[in-house]
C-alpha cells in the first residue's frame, strides 16, 4: 500500500492533541500505509475480515450496554464494563463521529485486557485500522482473533 497524500493528511489528524489527547498512533513511527498493510495481512492470513472482528467486539459491547457501568460477565468468561461517557469522537478519516464510551474487557483466561469504543470499532470495520503500536487503544488483530475465537465465515473457507 502506498502512503498517499490523503493518508498523510489522515495520519496528521491521528497525532496527539489533534482529535484526541493521546492520538491514535502510540509510539508507532511507521507511515499509516504500513500500519494498515501489516494488520490487514494478519487478518487475511487468519481468513477473517475486519467487519467480522468489529462485529464480534460490538456484540461484547452490546452485552454490557444499558447496565449503567455495572460489571458483567459475558460468555461465562469476559469481565466487561461499558463506560457511559457522553459525547462523540470524530473519525480521523473524516467520515463521522462515534461514541466515546469505552468498553473495558478483562479475560481471566489469558490475563489480557482490551479497550475499545464506538470509534475504535468504526475504524476497524471500515478502515482496517487497529491503532498504532503503543496506543492505549491498540488492538492486535491476531490477538483479537485468538482470544475472541473469531473464525472464518463458512463461505470464506
Amino acid at each position: 500500500m502506498k502512503q498517499t497524500p490523503e493518508l498523510d493528511r489522515i495520519q496528521a489528524r491521528m497525532r496527539p492533541g489533534v482529535l484526541t489527547m493521546k492520538g491514535f498512533l502510540g509510539t508507532d513511527p511507521r507511515p499509516l500505509a504500513d500500519i494498515l498493510a501489516e494488520d490487514d495481512a494478519a487478518v487475511r492470513a487468519a481468513g477473517v475480515t475486519h467487519a467480522q472482528i468489529a462485529d464480534r467486539l460490538e456484540a461484547i459491547t452490546r452485552a454490557g450496554t444499558d447496565l449503567m457501568e455495572a460489571e458483567t460477565i459475558v460468555e461465562n468468561r469476559f469481565r466487561v464494563v461499558v463506560r457511559d461517557d457522553r459525547g462523540l469522537l470524530p473519525s480521523p478519516f473524516g467520515d463521522g463521529r462515534f461514541s466515546k464510551g469505552d468498553t473495558e474487557v478483562t479475560d481471566p483466561v489469558t490475563g489480557r485486557t482490551f479497550r475499545w469504543n464506538g470509534l475504535t470499532l468504526h475504524l476497524i470495520r471500515h478502515h482496517g485500522f487497529y491503532n498504532g503500536k503503543g496506543s492505549d487503544y491498540r488492538l492486535d488483530p491476531a490477538v483479537l482473533i485468538e482470544v475472541f475465537g473469531i473464525a472464518p465465515a463458512p463461505d470464506q473457507t
Binding site: G17, V18, T20, M21, D84, R86, L88, R97
Partner: protein, 366 residues
C-alpha cells in the same frame, strides 16, 4: 565544495523568492474585501473582511454557533442554513450532512469560506448566545472522577439561561494539545444565581478537555464559557415529574430542581432517580436529602447497582428501580440526562409503563 555551497545558496534564494511571490499572490488574489453576512433575513447584518471561515467570522462578530471541535471540520455540529453565497458543498462536509439537510441548504459553517455576501439562517436562540471570560472560584472533588466547578462572571455581568441548558467550556493548550478545544457541559446551578455558573464534569479517560480540567485548571484561573445552548428544560404543565440521571447527568436536573424551588413550583410532585454503581459514585446526596426534607413535593431516590449492601439506598439498575416504583404512567412527564445507553433503557421502561415518547425529554449529548 564551493560549487555545492553555491548551488545550495542559489536554490535557497530561489525558494525564498518563490515563497515571497506566493505570499504576495495570496494577499492579492485572496483578498475578498468587505463582505456582508445577513442573518435571519436582516435580523442582524455584519460587515466583515472576507477570507475566513463562516464559523470563525461569525464568532468574531460574537455570534457563536455550537462547535465541538473548534472548527476543524470533524464534529459536524456547527451547522446553519446558507441561503446564498456559500459556494458548493465541499467533500469535507458531506459525511456530516444527510439528504434532507443538503436539500435545505444546511452547511458546516467551519467549511464555508466567506468570499462574497452571504445570507444565512440560524436558530433564533443562538442570537442570545454570549461569550464569557469567567474566573474559576471553586473546584470541588465530588466523587473519585467527578468535579464540581464554579465560575464567577466579571463584575456587572450576568447570564440569562433556562435551567437545563448547557455551555461550552473552552480549554487552553497543554502538552500535546496545541489548540484551544471546547466541550459542552450542562449548567448545574439555578438561573437565579446569574452572576456565576456551576458545572459538573466527569473525567473521561484521555479526554482532551476533561484532562485539562482535572490536571491543569486551578482556582483563580480565567476560563472562556460560551452559551447558553440547548432545548432541555422544564416544560410548563401540571404533570408529575420523573427525573432520571446518572453520572454527570445530574447537573441539569439539579439546576431544574433548584429553579423549581426558586420559582415556587410546588404543585407538581417530582421524584429524582439517580443511578450509580457504588456508593463512591453518589454526590450531592446531602443537598437532595435536605431538599426532600424541606419540600413535600420532592422525593429523592438514589440507587446503586453494584454488589454493596451496607447502604440505605435503592438497589439495582435505575431502570429496574423506576419500573418497581410506578404502575401506569398516565399523568407524568420525564426528564432524563445521561449516556445514550441509559436513556435508551429508560425510554423503553417508561414507554412500557404507558408514558408517551413526546412526554419524555432528554439530552443524550450525542
Amino acid at each position: 565544495m564551493i560549487e555545492v555551497l553555491t548551488g545550495i545558496a542559489v536554490l535557497s534564494g530561489v525558494s525564498a523568492g518563490l515563497t515571497v511571490l506566493l505570499l504576495i499572490a495570496e494577499a492579492w488574489f485572496a483578498d475578498y474585501g468587505e463582505c456582508v453576512i445577513d442573518v435571519n433575513a436582516g435580523e442582524r447584518q455584519y460587515k466583515v473582511k472576507g477570507g475566513s471561515s463562516l464559523l470563525r467570522t461569525l464568532s468574531e462578530q460574537k455570534l457563536f454557533l455550537p462547535s465541538g471541535c473548534g472548527g476543524r471540520g470533524s464534529c459536524g455540529t456547527c451547522k446553519c442554513r446558507v441561503l446564498e453565497g456559500g459556494g458548493p458543498i465541499l467533500p469535507t462536509e458531506t459525511p456530516y450532512l444527510n439528504e434532507t439537510e443538503r436539500r435545505s441548504q444546511v452547511r458546516l459553517s467551519c467549511q464555508v469560506k466567506v468570499k462574497e455576501n452571504i445570507r444565512i439562517e440560524v436558530p433564533a436562540e443562538l442570537l442570545n448566545v454570549r461569550e464569557f471570560v469567567a474566573t474559576t472560584v471553586r473546584i470541588t472533588q465530588l466523587t473519585h472522577d467527578i468535579r464540581g466547578l464554579r465560575f464567577e462572571l466579571p463584575p456587572g455581568e450576568t447570564i440569562k439561561f433556562k435551567a437545563g441548558q448547557f455551555v461550552n467550556l473552552v480549554s487552553q493548550p497543554y502538552g500535546d494539545v496545541t489548540e484551544s478545544t471546547s466541550r459542552a457541559y450542562s449548567i448545574s446551578s439555578p438561573p437565579s444565581d446569574n452572576r456565576a455558573l456551576e458545572l459538573v464534569i466527569r473525567l473521561v479517560p484521555n479526554g482532551m478537555v476533561t484532562t485539562w480540567v482535572f490536571q491543569h485548571l486551578k482556582e483563580g484561573q480565567p476560563v472562556t464559557l460560551i452559551g447558553p445552548y440547548g432545548e432541555f428544560f422544564l416544560r410548563e404543565s401540571s404533570r408529575e415529574i420523573i427525573f432520571i440521571a446518572g453520572g454527570s447527568g445530574l447537573a441539569p436536573i439539579r439546576s431544574i430542581i433548584l429553579d423549581m424551588i426558586d420559582r415556587g413550583i410546588t404543585h407538581r410532585p417530582a421524584t429524582f432517580f439517580f443511578g450509580a454503581v457504588k456508593r463512591r459514585d453518589l454526590y450531592y446526596v446531602e443537598e437532595f436529602e435536605r431538599i426532600a426534607a424541606q419540600h413535600p413535593w420532592f422525593r429523592y431516590k438514589p440507587a446503586l447497582s453494584g454488589d454493596e449492601t451496607d447502604h440505605p439506598y435503592e438497589r439495582g439498575l435505575i431502570t429496574d428501580v423506576v419500573a418497581r416504583h410506578y404502575g401506569t404512567l398516565d399523568h407524568h412527564e420525564a426528564y432524563l440526562c445521561g449516556s445514550p445507553g441509559m436513556i435508551n433503557a429508560c425510554v423503553k421502561v417508561l414507554t412500557q409503563k404507558g408514558l408517551p415518547e413526546h412526554l419524555i425529554f432528554y439530552d443524550k449529548f450525542s
